[in-house]
Symmetry: C2
Subunit: 294 residues, 2 copies
């Protein structure tokens, strides 16, 4: 069996695994993200000690990252605010230490690819994976191709309408104030309501407002990409009522303009949770290694 190494490079934790799919994880390790040298050495050690031969490594990374193979800074995490991680050549370090081909993409494009191979988007060639947690990020495919271009998507930073009477909180994005991430990521919820989202009850008005902003973001995604599925992951989506509120608000905002059955009776199968749960991230990294090798 052909095995791959996957590195989910997150801002707070790294997950490394050897395997070939959700049913075939040979070994896995999780550890906190510290400084780049220590954190990447830990990954190298893990793969060097693997009993099974590995064909390629995939890295699904927090960003922003440089994905252009022709660029002098290809393989680097670029302008991240995370201390010590600016301009870290993550691909170069792994490639030279392990002597294996390395595939590299954003954590959310990786997660999208994993959901396409094994999860909620197996029948979809044009879809979006959006994660709502400490930050908001999105990835996806169009016609079976991961979305890349100038750089990679930065879906957390789309501008949204905000009615100051309904929501006087002006957002916390240091660049854009009340963009999607500035209004709807975990830290925005905490700053607006004075406590973390998981402490707000399910009937707190926070969730209707949250659903409103997420639905506005989905409106942008639907009008620009016309995906056949939207997968919503991340810690904030753990709030049990939120997904249903988002579905309802998307229908309300679209106002029946787009005539597709997915947006009416099919909405519960159109806006969905990830199917791969906790392992979406590292499976995304493994999927990237497979995607690039084939």
């Amino acid at each position: 069996m052909t095995l791959f190494g996957g590195i989910e490079a997150g801002g707070t934790k790294f997950v490394c695994a050897v395997g070939s799919g959700p049913e075939k994880i040979e070994s896995i390790v999780k550890y906190p993200t510290t400084n780049p040298t220590q954190t990447l050495n830990h990954a190298v050690d893990f793969f060097e000690k693997s009993d099974s031969p590995i064909n390629a490594i995939g890295i699904a990374s927090f960003g922003p990252i440089d994905l252009h193979t022709s660029s002098p800074t290809y393989g680097q995490i670029t302008t991240t605010p995370k201390p010590g991680w600016q301009n870290v050549d993550i691909v170069g370090r792994i490639e030279s230490a392990l002597g294996l081909p390395v595939a590299f993409d954003t954590d959310v494009n990786g997660a999208a690819l994993a959901e396409h191979r094994w999860g909620a988007a197996q029948r979809d060639d044009t879809f979006v994976y959006l994660t709502i947690g400490t930050g908001i990020g999105g990835g996806g495919m169009v016609g079976g191709k991961l979305i890349h271009g100038m750089l990679h998507p930065e879906m957390g930073h789309m501008p949204l309408p905000r009615d100051p009477e309904r929501d006087p909180f002006s957002g916390i994005c240091p660049y854009h104030g009340d963009c999607l991430e500035g209004l709807a990521a975990g830290p925005a919820i905490e700053a607006r309501w004075g406590m973390r989202g998981e402490k707000l009850g399910g009937n707190h008005p926070a969730w209707e407002l949250e659903a409103h902003y997420l639905a506005l973001g989905l409106m942008n995604i639907i009008t620009i990409l016309s995906p056949t599925k939207i997968i919503l992951g991340g810690g904030i989506m753990q709030q049990p009522n939120l997904l249903a509120l988002v579905r309802h608000e998307v229908q309300s905002l679209l106002n029946e303009y787009i005539q597709a059955p997915q947006l009416f009776d099919g909405i519960d199968e159109y806006i969905v949770r990830p199917a791969l749960g906790d392992q979406t991230g590292v499976l995304g990294a493994i999927a990237l290694a497979q995607y690039n090798l084939h």
Copy 2:
């Protein structure tokens, strides 16, 4: 030489041509869009009288349209407000009359494809073509594939932030009020300022506001798709100062968050006019016929 027929099916005029590219148009005809029978018969007559053998027909149509070849309503213009044109089977009529393969897509996806083959996006695989006129529509490619999914993009209908103090005009979209089209298409400009855009002077404040809304739309496109180029066509873009205002406003709104040279010194080559001028539409139809046949 392999020749193709192209039909630019617009809400106000039809353009039909036989050819294989911008330098190779053998014959062309333009006529007003009347009722479907008369309008489509005119197209059939034109191609039947063509001296040159045609290999396939492309139709680049106003919408919304049904693009799913497996759908019972494939090839139809669906819920258009244009009287008499709801549920018109434009592909079926042309296909059965001419006995040729017919490719079918939106006018803006056609225009995008033509600019990709022969125009401003020849080096771009991930880009967007946006037209700003009587309506606002967008098409484009990701990884060399035209953007299709649930349906086709409806970029005119993305929600935008509007500051009621700066702009008390609440938009004219019958579905969404102040979406992009509701705020920035030609009829919105006319309704807001009491005269048509071409009568407003180049220094009228209308253009800064227009640039602001278009730039917000481009922010959404950039954060969701990360295109390597954005092409702005349509009658409203004829205003000579507008393109420069849009470029400047995009930079201002992005606030240096996305670190790509295209968004700094390269902005004049990033947000551009169509290269094919008047013939983009019918060349788009010809390009669709070629794209589907190969």
